[in-house]
Amino acid sequence: MSEVPDNLSYTKDHEWMLVKDDGKVRIGITDHAQDALSDVVFVELPEIGSKFSEGDAMAVAESVKAASDIYAPVSGEIVEVNDKLEESPELINESPYDFGWMVVMIPDNKLNNTLDSKSYRELID
């Protein structure tokens, strides 16, 4: 069974979002997504300062078998990226909700169209 923490928001594309006190949003892929991808061996992250609209491909996670686009779950600007993933892409598999986070964005608007943990759990069951 995949882990789906209650304190996060989710998208249909299997990304998670953590809204921080300062309004910034930390983003990664879910336990379910990392399991489906299997061993992540390469991650391509966006540049700090780049801007994306909701649904744009903003990053890529590659396993031995396939490359998967990671979509911006919200429109906004990238203000931090997880550099550790360059050396250790496996953090996404080992710790998808913690050490395996991918980017931090300042969203243009409040989050909408997101799923809570209960709805996301229903989606993947």
């Binding site: 299997s38 061993d39 061996v41 390469f42 890529v60 590659e62 396993s63 031995v64 078998k65 490359a67 360059e86 496996e90 598999n93």
Partner: protein
């Protein structure tokens, strides 16, 4: 058409394998993780259900002459118990399939072609056998094949069957054939026998500690060693010379495709070459290869070497070792160079 299954299908599922369609067979692509399975084979011992592979028996007084004629190797040079990797070519010198030829006896041989080529090879053998006193029997449907690979494989083989095999030698034990062959570059063996014994051998070896390995790791293991993948590195229009496997040709005998190879030898031709990525990235089959900003080729195979942690691939090229090239991966040009295979 529904996919064919080996008798181990339920075992694979119970072990949590992801199953895929491979040449019409439902086969495990991975049980846990391609990377960890790959390392298990390099460092310990893995077991592969490769029962989709073919088993074609050739018997009769003309077996030696016939197999010498339809393969790149002169079987006169084989002794009983020898295994030989070689190619089966058409008149143009193009590879129909690669196979290992097992010399069971002077008048009895076993060929192990790839699953997707069994019918093609059987037809090819039958169509070229008119002048030879041989019988050709395709027993692929009633034989299994297990590969036991890794530094600990000889120990497990000893424990399981109280035997050992040398590299490219075979032994016959009752109803099974054990050979010092494989597709990983590690020590180990392959066991071929009647399908109703598959479960027995699999369960015994897994109980002794052999780790089940899927086709995903089988592909990264063979690519690190520069071994060819039928249907991908050659697709019907490439010659043995072009694949850079000239060592499987015995020029001093007559065989189908020889004339074409002799004339190709006089000319320049692209050879399947190794590409090692210097930038970070994963190579994929089909990625374009550039030299001096000109597209010169496409990768036939590509992946990430789990051991080197670098992108590796194969492409038909006519460049010297160490030439700098780039590979286009999702719109970006990544730096790499031409290297000798094996990569590892």
């Amino acid at each position: 058409m529904s996919l064919r299954r080996t008798p181990l299908s339920t075992h694979h599922r119970a072990l949590g394998a992801k199953m895929v369609d491979f040449a019409g067979w439902e086969m495990p692509i991975q049980y846990s993780s391609i990377i960890s399975e790959h390392k298990s084979v390099r460092e310990n011992v893995g077991i592969f259900d490769v029962s989709h592979m073919g088993q074609i028996f050739v018997k009769g007084p003309d077996s030696v002459k016939f197999l010498s004629y339809v393969t790149t190797w002169d079987m006169e040079r084989q002794k009983d118990g020898d295994c030989r990797y070689c190619h089966i070519l058409n008149e143009k010198g193009h590879i129909i399939d690669d196979t290992i030829v097992y010399t069971i006896a002077a008048d009895e041989y076993l060929l192990v072609p790839n699953a997707s080529k069994i019918n093609k090879i059987v037809d090819w053998l039958l169509n070229n056998s008119d002048d030879f006193d041989v019988t050709i029997k395709d027993l692929s449907d009633i034989y299994f094949c297990l590969a036991l690979q890794g530094p600990e494989a000889p120990r497990l083989l000893g424990q399981h069957l109280n035997t050992s095999v040398n590299s490219f030698q075979l032994k016959i034990l009752d109803d099974i054939i054990v050979s010092g062959t494989g597709y990983t570059g590690e020590l180990g063996c392959e066991i071929i026998g009647p399908l109703d014994k598959l479960e027995f051998h699999w369960e015994a070896l897994v109980d002794m500690g052999a780790i089940p390995i899927g086709l995903g790791a089988r592909d990264t293991l063979r690519l690190e060693k520069g071994y060819l993948l039928s249907g991908q590195d050659f697709k019907g229009t490439e010659s043995t010379l072009e694949t850079n496997y000239a060592w499987v040709i015995d020029w001093d005998h007559d065989f189908i495709g020889r004339e074409a190879l002799v004339s190709q030898k006089q000319n320049k031709y692209s050879k399947l070459s190794g590409i090692l990525l210097e930038d970070r990235g994963v190579l994929r089959p089909g990625c374009s290869v550039f030299y001096n900003d000109n597209k010169i080729s496409e990768l036939t195979s590509g992946s990430l070497s789990p051991i080197l942690k670098k992108g590796i691939g194969l492409a038909y090229m006519d460049l010297d070792i160490d030439s700098k090239i780039t590979v286009e991966v999702r719109g970006k040009h990544l730096n790499g160079r031409v290297v000798r295979t094996p990569f590892l």
